[in-house]
Amino acid sequence: MKFQYRITKGGIVVLSCVAMLGTISCKKFLDIVPDNVATMDNAFTLRQEAEKYLFTCYSYLPNDGSTVSNPGFLAGDEMSTPLTSRYGDYAINLPRGNQNVTNPFFNYWDGNGAPALFRGIRDCNVFIENMKDMSKVPDIGPDERSRWIGEAMFLKAYYHYLLLRAYGPIPITDINIPVEAPVEQFRVKRSPVDEVVNYIASVYDSAAARLPGLIVNRVDELGRVTKPAALAMKAKMLVLAASPCLTEITIMLILKIRTDNCW
């Protein structure tokens, strides 16, 4: 639409109106998923891809066997190195006094020198949620499906435990919050330690019910979680929870959180 209009003999007023009406009828045409983009749905169409997702859940396990990734080895003052090339090794930085608040080392919360455990928990939840949907991954047997869910449950509980060990009261993430949720819903408050402990214990229990007692296929599966492992980790967590050290810290932290109102 475009029109001109003369008002007076001398003056000209030009009015132009351009309207862009978009594609209303082309919805189906535009709804096609492009070929070379792998979406989340692709991860749960086949057992082979779902297995990769399970291994992703495992991949957040801290590298506790490494001297530089496990603060238990080199974060004390027993040994240090003057080599600047070793700065990248996180444990070395602690005795050098380089721990800081801006980008802390052994940051299980955000992941610096340690796995980002909240990501791990989210991945476990995504996996459990999709595997519980029987219409997804049709080429997997019911026993194996149940076992895989149990493994992801164990990992979810274990990651909560690692966070509890490091931070005391933590937000419990039993179900993932959708990405498009409003900001207020994102801000989950930390739960008191006893709630976290009870939650972790219950998840360990439901994981144990689905897990095998023994790894039969040792060549391919040794290292995967078993029922005794789940129960042992539950016991370890309960011992930690009973420690007076943790409860004192907890009380302090809870008081601080109440005043800071942080999340």
Binding site: K9, G10, G11, I12, V13, V14, L15, S16, C17, V18, A19, M20, L21, G22, T23, I24, V33, P34, V37, A38, T39, M40, D41, A43, E49, E51, K52, Y53, F55, T56, Y58, S59, L61, T84, R96, N98, N100, V101, T102, N103, W109, D110, A116, F118, R119, R122, D123, I170, P171, T173, V179, E180, V183, F186, V188, R218, V219, D220, E221, L222
Partner: protein, 432 residues
Amino acid sequence: MGFLPSIGGGWVVSNEKFFEPLLKVIDNLKLRFTYGKSGNDAIGNANERFFYLSEVNFNQAGYVFGENFSFFRNGVNTLRYANEEITWEESTQLNGGLEINILNNLNIVIDAYNRKVENILLSRNATVPTTLGLQAAVVANTGRTDVRGIETAITYNSRIGSNLGLTSRATFTYNKNKIITTEEPLYPENISYVQRKGSSGDQIFGLIAERLFTDDREVANSPQQSFGQYMAGDIKYRDLNGDGRITNLDVAPIGWPRVPEITYGFGGTVDYKGLVDFSIFFQGSARSSFTINAGSGLDNGGNVVGISPFVLTGGGVNGFGQAGLLDIIAQDHWSEDNRNPYAFWPRLSQNVIANNAQTSTWWLQNGNFLRIKQAELGFNPSVKLLKKVGLDFARIYLSGQNLFTFTSFKLWDIEMGGTDWVIHCKEFTIWG
């Protein structure tokens, strides 16, 4: 789908009857305005065409099991979360203009505009808490920026007598933008200076540098600075929020925005009888700041950026690079013998000292300048004279570019800014 209407109008006032008595002075007077909406779908990353869909990568680091660590599977990495609500940016602009022509010589065009840009696609990193466990940044149309500005162009042409001619022009633009809403957490009252909202989108945020530490004892007795190792001779920052630590919460808006709010240029040509002419053009900008890059690195073209001397940087496809030692660093740096707390360069090191390379007032420079962009003196010998030597036309001229710059910054060409290494050479040409 969107409805993006616009409307515009113009009024030539000088064509009206009541204007006739003024026509002797003002030849042309026109007022115009436009008001309209426009959409911008060129948002986000150009490589991400389908950013409403989720995307995963099946080739991430996975995990190994088995007696001999022989059973390996790749992991899955989420590159993007699905978001069907993504839409385009929408801007609403009101534009008013004035064109005036006085005595056939002076022509003035002024445009003023006020633009509201909404639905700006922003990463929600700052508002999405870590506890959500997201691997990829979530983007959403949540930002809004207001832009207002003026553009002016003036030209003046005249002849004084029959011999002297003058052509001149000047331009002036003023542009200021302001973030109305952006993705950032609500900061408590006492550290509201960290907030981006209300500042220009190009505002520099940095630490307030006080001076250099004189000795390690002072370091030990000052607020802890959390940008890597530091010692005597390194930059001491101000603890704005008073928590005894220098962190990202001590970052405040410093200086002017990076992009000049005012740019201007003016110049003209004078000629005498068509034989001799002289032209000069000035260019300038005001209300901008820049920071010197005190780090060291390579840009995509393999050029060294950052002035940190001695540091061997790079190692990728572009090989290694090393910044040259600037004379001012050699002359004026902190050392054990010369503990000048206000030396230009802090403690020397073979590595980039992260503590000193932070964006701070230490490296902040005023970006204002005015330069003689171009000047030319030309001589056209008369036709009579040329005929004698058998030529039809000749012109001899002396021309210079970037001849002189008025600025407070003397280290290098100010238009290079802090990191951008485009050199404006001084250039002379004599041509006959």
